[in-house]
Symmetry: C2
Subunit: 223 residues, 2 copies
């Protein structure tokens, strides 16, 4: 049995969990707070980041969400998530990188810092200016996703792919932390509504990070 | 013919160019300064980052160094750089992510900011404290690479892989910007010496960024 080391608001762990869910791969969750820099965790992953997956029976460890997703994509055929022609696959990976780098850097990282790390670790109030800038950028990102969804049913093309899983992972954390204004984004809201009812996503939405509460619409399929 | 949009000190473009060189794929360089946010460049890559590759005859554009490397790995068989078992491939990708995220964030990004962007864009002197911290972290990173090379001939195993190309790309930029102290790192220096004489690497080492000069040992195979 695989173990997955993560904390409830880690977007990179969510991306991996959505992939595992869609492919029907079982795993056991292990709570890890990477900011505590636990020695045993650093021994498994010197980068000190979640997610990490470990298979104890095989003494096997996988680190880094990109490497983990490619590993399961290569080894488990069910529901391919990086599929189609080489061009399609390049477009899927471009968009995964977009969410993991641009959306994460502009929106999720500042929200996590202001609303999670400052509360749990530094005991400081959030900086309103940083929060407003993250929400402004979230808005321009959702404009871009609206545009992508104007052209095809899913983020990277006609079928669901790892780009959708990465998008849902990052957007759900931003939404948990109150950073998404859904009103002006009908296409993205429609896509996210569909996504929220998937069996791979429901258990993630039911989880809570200690102390920090999501807005009331967060878990609802109809928001 | 492929065009590759980049600037001489972009480590992510170097990683792609090393892969293209090892696979024998021809391309034409186009100088792009992403900080100028040129409209035509943003139309090709909304993320505004180098490298971008364009094939004009086919009206095809590839963005993001991860997506580009996987694309050529999938479409050009010669000299596979993400090879071996699924476990080997996961280890190669973990280490590519290590260099693109940890090494870049700890070492290359601060050196580029202090010694390149401040000089070319902001006309400010570098911050000595930031430079010293980047060089201290470069030292701990090279300790880790020494350790990896104690165990096998190349960074991720018995054969050369994309992990070596990523490592050489990032280390060469840090070295250009005077951030590497080679004295205490015999294993890494040996590996890098071998790498420097490869035909895929020589043309990169001969290029210069305007105004900024590398240290005298930078291009020498025997340093």
């Amino acid at each position: 049995m695989w173990q997955l080391f993560q904390f409830p608001l880690c977007p990179f762990s969510r991306k991996v969990r959505l992939l595992l869910g869609e492919k029907g791969i079982g795993y056991e969750l292990v709570r890890e707070s990477p900011w505590e820099q636990r020695d045993e965790f650093l021994d498994m992953n010197p980068a000190g980041r979640t997610p990490v997956m470990r298979h104890r029976d095989r003494d096997q460890t996988l680190c880094d969400s990109w490497a983990i997703c490619e590993y399961f994509e290569e080894t488990v055929e069910k529901n391919p998530m990086i599929n189609g022609s080489a061009d399609n696959r390049a477009e899927i990976r471009r968009l995964v990188a977009w969410f993991d780098e641009q959306f994460f850097g502009d929106v999720v990282a500042p929200l996590m810092h202001e609303r999670m790390r400052k509360r749990l670790i530094y005991r400081q109030p959030p900086d309103g200016r940083v929060l407003r800038e993250a929400m402004r950028l979230a808005n321009t990102h959702l404009d871009y996703i609206d545009y992508l969804l104007d052209h095809h049913a899913w983020i990277a093309g006609a079928t669901m792919s790892l780009a959708d899983l990465a998008a849902a992972a990052h957007i759900s954390i931003a939404d948990y932390l109150g950073g998404i204004d859904w009103l002006a984004h009908a296409q993205t809201a429609d896509w996210y509504r569909k996504f929220k009812s998937r069996p791979s996503f429901r258990p993630l939405l039911a989880e809570r990070m200690e102390v920090i509460k999501p807005p009331s619409h967060y878990e609802e399929a109809d928001f």
